[in-house]
């Protein structure tokens, strides 16, 4: 029920993303021999496809991280995974990979994997430790990113890095779609493979192991899935935070708290959220378009604070 509802929502958001913009274009114009059809195919379609994939992998990544760490505050952005992946990409651009998206993506993915692995090593299962480790990781990555920016050799490189950091789906091509599709697919498969184990982890690591869960394998699946997925999406679109935090939270009351049941709905919900948000930023009046990453943070940060406040209410 909820899944088909979410799927319909994603389809509607996808159509909206194709149509919305300074110029509205009905998606039925595909295949016409007009400038509108060209815009649709060359600009809007890649953008919608990227939004779909990035949203899905961020939403599912949040659900998986929350399940694995048994903590509803876990999220790739909050835990510094996105920031570290961004550092990887910025470093690659700095070192002269600016014309080679593949290299940038690989660097971002490697850094993303490293970040999740480091968090898994340091934090164990304690939520507080994990959040602190995430905060430290995020600020360290941000500082290093600033360092790289300040060392940027040319104003052009500087501009490229900064624009890219803000997180946006603008001016992407089908080449970016092809680049992202593989890693996103791999990431989603890895995450799906960890689902049943995440359920058992609700009883703690020892009991999960006694139920036949391979803890080392689960850790690898989660680290691999989140690191590859978030790394690749950051590499192509910059940092888009809070999707992985907000979406599982909104859906948990609807589908139940089992991580395995939350996974697919979170992927769908994440896709819908990013597609809608990316359509909305195009409609904001003004010469320059509002960056998606900024818009998402403006929406997500208050939500996160509200979440913390509500958690405190429950504990009190």
């Amino acid at each position: 029920m909820i899944r088909s509802g979410l799927a319909a929502l994603v389809a509607a958001a996808f159509l909206l993303s194709l149509s919305a913009g300074k110029a509205w274009i009905a998606p039925v114009r595909f295949g016409d021999d007009t400038p509108e059809a060209l815009v649709l195919l060359e600009l809007r379609l890649p953008r919608a496809l990227l939004g779909l994939m990035v949203g899905a992998v961020l939403g599912a990544g949040g659900a998986v991280l929350q399940g694995y760490l048994r903590n509803p505050l876990a999220e790739p952005g909050v835990l510094g995974v996105s920031a570290t992946a961004a550092l990887g990409a910025v470093l690659a651009i700095f070192l002269g990979a600016s014309g080679q998206p593949l290299l940038i993506a690989a660097s971002a993915m490697a850094f993303g994997l490293g970040a999740v692995a480091l968090l898994g090593l340091i934090a164990g299962s304690s939520g507080l430790q994990l959040l602190l480790a995430g905060v430290v990781l995020a600020s360290l990555s941000a500082a290093l990113t600033s360092l790289v920016i300040s060392l940027a050799p040319t104003p052009f490189a500087l501009g490229e890095i900064v624009t890219w950091l803000m997180g946006a789906l603008t001016d992407r091509s089908l080449a970016d779609v092809r680049l992202l599709a593989g890693p996103v697919l791999v990431a989603l498969v890895l995450m799906a493979a960890s689902a049943r184990a995440l359920d058992a982890l609700a009883l703690g690591e020892a009991t999960a192991a006694s139920l036949g869960v391979d803890l080392a394998r689960t850790r690898l699946l989660v680290i691999g899935g989140v690191g590859i997925g978030v790394g690749a999406s950051v590499a192509v679109t910059g940092v888009i935070s809070f999707v992985g935090l907000v979406v599982p939270h909104l859906l948990r009351p609807l589908v139940g708290p089992e991580p395995s049941r939350l996974l697919l709905p979170s992927a769908l919900g994440g896709a819908a959220l990013v597609l809608v948000a990316d359509s909305l930023v195009r409609l904001v009046p003004g010469a320059a378009e509002l960056k998606l990453g900024i818009a998402m943070a403006l929406l997500g940060a208050p939500f996160f604070l509200w979440l913390l406040w509500r958690t405190r209410q429950e504990l009190a």
């Binding site: 048994r70 049943r196 359920d199 058992a200 982890l201 609700a202 009883l203 703690g204 020892a206 009991t207 192991a209 006694s210 139920l211 036949g212 869960v213 391979d214 139940g256 708290p257 089992e258 991580p259």
Partner: protein, 259 residues
């Protein structure tokens, strides 16, 4: 198979500075072993090592006649049900969903629960008097209700060997007796049971065999009648124990090391 379902020989294990063992024991079908000892004696460590969740520093465990390490995870998980002490549930699952987790080693990796899984869950909930709690979120349950649901989780896995760490904790007297009855029933139907118990009279009610640990060492082991005596328990816990195994007073100069 007539031999023991689970067997430990010269088992030693350590957690931090603590060292357990060597412990040798055998769990036979139809019998309940009660493990006793003061706090910090190594009872939980022993259960973890028996369950294969803590690598032994020496000695070995055999499950169903085979070395524990030689069995694959699923076979091990099907044969062995482990109930941790004061088990927490991290998400606010329904009681039914928690019990369904006990079916994990039996279920195929994908797909919804099968009819046999639902049947086993229903039976386990009924056995622990928790059917009426099935659709309640676990975080809304009382300590005792949650303990029964978590025990039902173990039963749902239909294990041949049950390793239970303080299964009577948090239960009111009626449900303590009921859980004792369930453990005895599981043994009666051919399983082997090892349980850590602190209540001495209930331990005597439950036990066929008993093992008394202190400072990580076995200080008495054997048939329950031989181990669960006022004299032996008094020595093990440093207390005076009445003929009905009711703790009466700490021994001279021993204060309250054991509860």
């Amino acid at each position: 198979m007539s031999g023991p379902l689970l067997e430990a020989a010269g088992l030693s294990a350590g957690q931090g500075a603590f060292r357990l063992g060597p412990v040798s024991l055998a769990l036979h079908p139809g019998r309940v072993l009660v493990i006793l000892g003061p706090n910090g004696a190594g009872k939980s460590t022993l259960l973890l090592a028996l369950a294969g969740l803590l690598a032994p520093s020496a000695g070995a465990v055999r499950l169903l006649g085979q070395p524990l390490a030689a069995l694959d995870r699923t076979a091990r998980a099907r044969a062995l049900g482990y109930l941790p002490q004061g088990g927490t549930v991290h998400w606010n699952l329904t009681a039914r969903a928690v019990v369904m987790l006990g079916r994990a080693p039996h279920r195929p990796p994908f797909g919804p629960p099968r009819a046999e899984d639902c049947a086993a869950v229903g039976q386990a909930l009924a056995a622990t008097d928790a059917t009426h709690l099935a659709d309640r979120p676990v975080h809304s349950l009382s300590g005792g209700e949650r303990a029964r649901v978590l025990f039902a989780r173990v039963l749902a896995g239909e294990p041949r060997v049950i390793l239970a760490d303080e299964p009577l904790q948090n239960l009111d007297p009626a449900h303590q007796l009921q859980t004792v009855g369930l453990l005895r029933e599981a043994a009666h139907s051919g399983s082997a049971v090892a349980a850590v118990v602190h209540d001495l009279p209930l331990a005597r009610r439950l036990a066929d065999d008993a093992l008394l640990l202190k400072h990580g060492r076995v200080i008495a082991a054997g048939p329950a009648d031989a181990v669960l005596t006022a004299e032996t328990l008094g020595l093990g816990f440093g207390i005076r124990v009445s003929g009905e195994l009711v703790p009466v007073a700490p021994l001279e100069g021993r204060a309250t090391e054991a509860q």
